[in-house]
């Protein structure tokens, strides 16, 4: 892993300020730390946002839920309202990863996680997503887990999230 500066954010504004230029936010870290070990990602600064108050699940006036970016996959899957009224979301979360990972992985991080395309992970291969302009080794490679629809000549990566599919089916929206 490449060296980095570690900063702990105590406000959202501070986190955005600290993240200017070459930084990555870290929450659960279950995807980012893995990618940093492999040096697929090497941020110069890590801004730890775990202490920010973004881990609530609130009822909204129109009968929906507002899910904080730092709500863990476990807390979201096990929320009694989600289990009762939006079970597809619980089921999608419980179908993914493991108990240990779901306890750490967050809602925001789940949406922002990187593709599992093998060529994105393999630094010896061409990958436009990892290094724009180098090409896409997946086009002619092992691409069974990759996309057949909505692709381009530059990239056929898929987003790996099960949770995102359920949220999309439920018409969820991302809001600031």
């Amino acid at each position: 892993m490449r060296a980095f500066d570690y900063v702990r954010a105590d406000s959202a504004e501070g986190a955005v300020r600290d993240a200017a230029g070459g930084a990555a936010f870290i929450a659960g870290g279950t995807n980012l730390i893995d990618l940093m070990k492999l040096e697929v990602m090497s941020p110069e600064t890590l801004v730890d946002i775990n202490r920010l108050a973004m881990n609530g699940i609130e009822d909204t006036a129109d009968g929906g839920l507002r899910i904080g970016a730092l709500v863990t996959n476990s807390d979201l899957a096990n929320d009694s309202r989600v289990r009762r009224n939006w079970p597809v979301l619980s089921r999608a979360l419980l179908a993914g990863a493991s108990g240990q990972l779901r306890n750490k992985a967050t809602t925001g991080g789940n949406l922002l996680q990187r593709t599992r395309c093998l060529y994105f992970y393999d630094r010896a291969s061409a990958c436009n997503k990892r290094e724009p302009g180098t090409g896409c080794a997946a086009q002619e490679g092992f691409n069974r887990i990759l996309a057949v629809l909505g692709t381009s000549e530059h990239c056929i990566a898929t987003h790996p999230s099960d949770m995102a599919v359920a949220m999309r089916a439920l018409g969820a929206e991302g809001r600031r």
Partner: protein, 168 residues
């Protein structure tokens, strides 16, 4: 970077490189070698510890992110002369061969049984709106984050079931 961890009830102050994973802090800096490094990528579960009551992969988190947190490792769960119910059940049911994955299995199962007590459903739970009974299928699914290269799975499930029945 200064990091304070409360491990198995004892407070430790560490001065470590921010790159240090919680697993490496435990093993290399504190000599708590019960937690094992298997894959080091969050896939095998050998490094499982309990942080603030929840099981996590200690290889996929940085020690500095856990400043002030309470960590329980296998050393804190029991000792040879004072085994936890799960540890005793693993011995009795022969829930291991080489034993390398066992500390992670036991840390994981300890927290997993608490999740069941709290009514958490799993991927194989029929009615996720209510709780689940601890069938063998439930145990296997809930322990899917802990791999055993010796494939001692049948006895691991048996040990966990026996320990759960004992504490019920």
């Amino acid at each position: 970077m200064e990091t304070n961890l409360e491990i198995n009830g004892t407070r430790h102050r560490l001065d470590i490189d921010p790159r240090t994973t919680l697993l490496d802090a435990l093993r290399h800096h504190l000599g708590l070698t019960g937690s094992k490094k298997g894959c080091d990528h969050g896939q095998c579960g050998a490094c499982t510890v309990i942080v603030n009551g929840r099981r996590i992969n200690s290889c996929l988190t940085l020690a500095c992110m856990h400043d002030g947190d309470e960590v329980t490792t296998i050393e804190g769960i029991g000792q040879p002369d004072n085994l936890s119910a799960l540890q005793a059940a693993f011995v009795q049911e022969d829930g291991f061969q080489c034993g390398y994955c066992t500390p992670g299995q036991i840390c994981s199962a300890t927290a997993m049984l608490e999740e069941v007590r709290n009514g958490w459903p799993s991927h194989v739970t029929d009615d996720i709106a209510s709780g689940a009974e601890l069938t063998d299928a439930e145990i296997s699914e809930r322990m899917s984050g802990n791999l055993c290269r010796c494939a001692a799975y049948p006895n691991i499930v048996e040990a966990i079931r026996k320990a759960a029945e004992k504490s019920a």
